[in-house]
Symmetry: C2
Subunit: 554 residues, 2 copies
């Protein structure tokens, strides 16, 4: 495998079937055992690997854009007796630590996207567990708004990771069981140590599922529930579907290039230089123009490209530890597209979906374990939605004045706060990036908000706290070079921990608990010999040998 | 070293000096280089190990009880030019993973205790940094309410862990910098990568310290600030000091015994059977009796014993993975002592301090990486403050009926919710253990609160959700045995992660972020070869060799 591609489309799915019947879509998991992304394992019992989840992610995205009429999505299985057995264990046992961690991050993001569709898109997910859902299979169900389980004396939901594999459920299971479904913590403790799980009435009584339905009533119940959910949906109107046409992407050893987004990969310095370009033309006068443009509409095209780039670099370029973020083009045009979207977001499904997609893409950046450094130079357009890139960065450098040798007559760089920075693009912690930045400093935040709409030059932006440093032409090269060199010299692990903590100041949500708390514990456990060592539980599973644990409690 | 003892007293301090001058106490760190707890390192530059921190913990505790007149505590250094260099690096490099993690947990608890004294005891901590405070030294300052730094062009505050050692600050530094002191996250990022740190006006401007004071004004400024803090204190009155007399403790290979608390250690089953005994006599009619009893007053004596036992088992018995929690004696007496304390807690410093101490001791249990199983049997007294033990447990088993073969005429076990369960003993997440248990289930919580004061037998307690399981005499032995055997068979690491997640349902605070999020990342980083491997940064430090990192980002 040269590298992993996240671009796919329903015609190429090997593991999922998407069927749409009026307002109800059914997404059927029917994993091809021989269709693993990497050789060495069979995807039995609807177990999944990254390839299976890439298709799921694609389907969830396409439902939002290509099926605006859909109001309920039923997640079910094409196998008999099994809904989904979770992440494939042989795949996990054979994978490197970075692969496991990155895999869990992506699957978490997809499940959060399912919750986002339910909460904000009027596409409500219903888990129709027509057989046992274990481990990641149950976690997939937990991401749905409602869970129906067939009541046949054998089908169950379970989290067998701890008793069978010596690891934790890796896709938010523990957090969602208590914080979303409100399963009592002592019952949750028991449930998570019982490999075979629970089914029937007890699963309902413990709040693990919403309903246990006898097989004879199954089809009818699923249909009733999905129609009821559809009729309660607040899915916005706004016209016909948009086709998410194939992304035009070129990938060489040292560059990844799309229409509006590009990355130059410098393997010597371990740096990816990412540039996001503003639209080449002005915004259309109304969303009609956006509907007509479809996937070519700048905010959507840009978000798709950035999304794919983040996933590509995260998965395929693990040694490129620092991402430099630049923008180029007209800030005014960026702000005009922002304004068009926000004006229509409450009434037009497409505008709403694009804003939500921008939000999710920026969130993906927030949880990316790479150092993010924004460079704000003349000709850049860090305004509104694109200013979020600088606010997501660990640090930003903004040139004071101009590059005298390059273009002494250039207009100095500016940054502009716009409506997109003041609410519609919250981070996982529920705060905007500005609120997180000024956490505990209401005056500082108010001062910035007062200047919304105004292009601010470096001195002003620094004083307001919108950027980190504002070196002038004389210091710029050296300061930026040192910052990048230092970053490459530090321990990548310590940077990951530092960034994961500083990026999420303030309150926590289910989402930040999953990425910040649960994932950190899981990373640690994954790395310990008790799981991944030669005698660890993950590697002993299925061999008939018992894991040999170091019994010391840590 | 046979085992680590946490019992000490000022006469035995090797590293700290405690001086009291009216309402202002000064706690001076003056570490004995040769006084390391374990051979193999010198405690240079006021660096610390567990032994140094045990004394600090003792001093903070004694200030609360033995110096009720104290309203400000000045933390400063007895060395010139250095306040504290943080945890000793050679000690860290030579320590096992469990030792490092347990060390950080204890130091975190002590710093949280400092914040608790400031917030709830009217003993406000002032960090008087008369020299550089780096790493854990700065983190100690961060736990104080105010930070003064001498402004002499060389003294600085710093978090050099990432650039120098490839690990994170292990005692809450990252969380407190952003969430407590509201340092902007990008400035925090820069600060945490700059090994030499920042001093003077810049440290003030970035909110890293409150004031930078020239050396000529130093003594005066510290004195002014401490007097000002003392006069703003809400320290309660209530009479003379209580002496925290030496705990009467016996320790053999298979038992640890105090007056009210005991533990039988079963190394074969990896189980500690802990029993907490109710008071032997009734509560005195007023707090005058408590003041007269001093350290012998049951709630104080019991809390001290339990506190010491938790620390002892955590540090010395890492292979004993399950703690069984039992109580014995009169529930009515427990409730009477609770009532006496709560009636006086708003007006009498001793009552307030004992309630706060109970709170901190129970919090210590919450963050203990051992499985906690409460067994509720006839003759037990899980009521009020002692019911918290069952609510802190991962699971509880309550006998339905009586042991027919043992004592068929016994009164069946009961549990009683009291005022102590409804507010005064919050967990680190800011919720009571009952609120955490019924997180998202307001009706369930209300139903339990309605029954406060009523001794509830097993059937009722199970129905209300106060206990996990209520097996009868026939099933009891087998069910409990299986639970304990299973727990011993599971991966200790996975259990640690499971428990750390389930115990803290719901909201997060600085405290839970430190224990749950930051600690988990730190554990992972500590364990990675980039830190602790033969070429890792922690082991390379001071050898002149550069660390050799695996550059893959995870």
């Amino acid at each position: 495998m040269s590298h992993v591609e996240f671009r796919t489309c329903p015609a190429n799915y090997r593991h999922w079937k998407l069927a749409v019947d009026g307002p109800v879509a059914t997404l059927t998991m029917d994993v091809d055992e021989q269709g693993g992304l990497v050789p060495g394992y069979e995807l039995k019992l609807n177990s999944y690997d990254l390839g299976v989840d890439i298709e799921l992610y694609d389907a969830v995205q396409r439902l939002r854009f290509e099926h605006p009429e859909v109001k309920t999505v039923v997640l079910t299985s094409g196998k008999e007796k099994i809904f989904c057995a979770g992440a494939n264990i042989r795949m996990l046992a054979a994978s490197s630590h970075p692969w496991k961690v990155n895999f869990c991050k992506f699957t978490n993001e997809t499940r959060n996207g399912i919750e986002d569709a339910t909460e904000n898109s009027g596409q409500t997910y219903l888990a129709a567990l027509n057989g046992t859902a274990s481990g990641g299979g149950y976690e997939l169900a937990l991401a749905c708004d409602q869970i129906l389980l067939v009541d046949d004396r054998s089908s169950a939901v379970s989290l067998p990771e701890l008793p069978l594999l010596g690891v934790l459920p890796g896709t938010g299971g523990l957090t969602r069981v208590t914080d979303k479904r409100h399963v009592r913590r002592d019952l949750a403790d028991y449930f998570s140590t019982k490999a075979e799980g629970l089914g029937g009435k007890k699963a309902v009584a413990w709040k693990l599922v919403d309903e246990a339905v006898p097989r004879v009533r199954w089809k009818e119940a699923v249909s009733e529930r999905s129609v009821a959910l559809a009729s309660a949906s607040n899915r916005l109107p706004g016209g016909a579907a948009i086709e998410l046409t194939a992304l035009d992407k070129s990938r060489t050893d040292d560059a990844i290039t799309y229409q509006y987004v590009s990355a130059a990969l410098d393997r010597t310095r371990s740096v990816a230089e990412i540039t996001v370009r503003a639209p080449e033309e002005g915004a259309p006068p109304s969303m009609a123009g956006a509907h007509a443009a479809g996937a070519a509409f700048w905010p959507l095209a840009m978000a798709r490209e950035l999304d794919d780039l983040i996933l590509d670099l995260r998965t395929n370029e693990t040694e490129i530890g620092t991402w430099v973020l630049r923008t180029t083009g007209s800030a005014e045009r960026v702000l005009a597209f922002d304004a068009l979207l926000l004006e229509a977001a409450a009434s037009d499904w497409l505008a709403n979906e694009i804003v939500l997609y921008l939000k999710r893409t920026l969130k993906r950046l927030d949880v990316t374990s790479r150092s993010l450094i924004a460079l704000i130079e003349p000709g850049s357009c860090f305004a509104g939605s694109l200013l979020e890139l600088a606010l997501a960065a660990d640090r930003s450098y903004m040139l004071f004045g101009v590059f005298e040798d390059v273009d002494p007559g250039a207009a100095p760089a500016t940054v502009t706060v716009g409506p997109m920075n003041l609410g519609p693009l919250p981070m996982g912690n529920g705060l905007t990036r500005l609120q997180t930045r000024f956490y505990g400093d209401q005056d500082g935040l108010a001062a910035v908000e007062k200047r919304a709409g105004e292009p601010l030059e470096a001195e002003e932006a620094e004083k307001l706290g919108l950027i980190t440093f504002a070196p002038d032409d004389i210091d710029w090269e050296e300061e930026v070079r040192i910052a990048l060199e230092e970053r490459s010299a530090f321990s990548p692990d310590a940077l990951t921990g530092l960034e994961a903590n500083y990026r999420f100041a303030g309150p926590e949500t289910i989402e930040t608990k999953i990425f910040g708390r649960l994932t950190a514990w899981q990373n640690w456990i994954f790395y310990r010999p008790n799981a991944s060592g030669p005698d660890g539980a993950l590697r002993a599973y299925g061999t008939g040998k018992r894991a040999d644990f170091d019994r010391k409690r840590v």
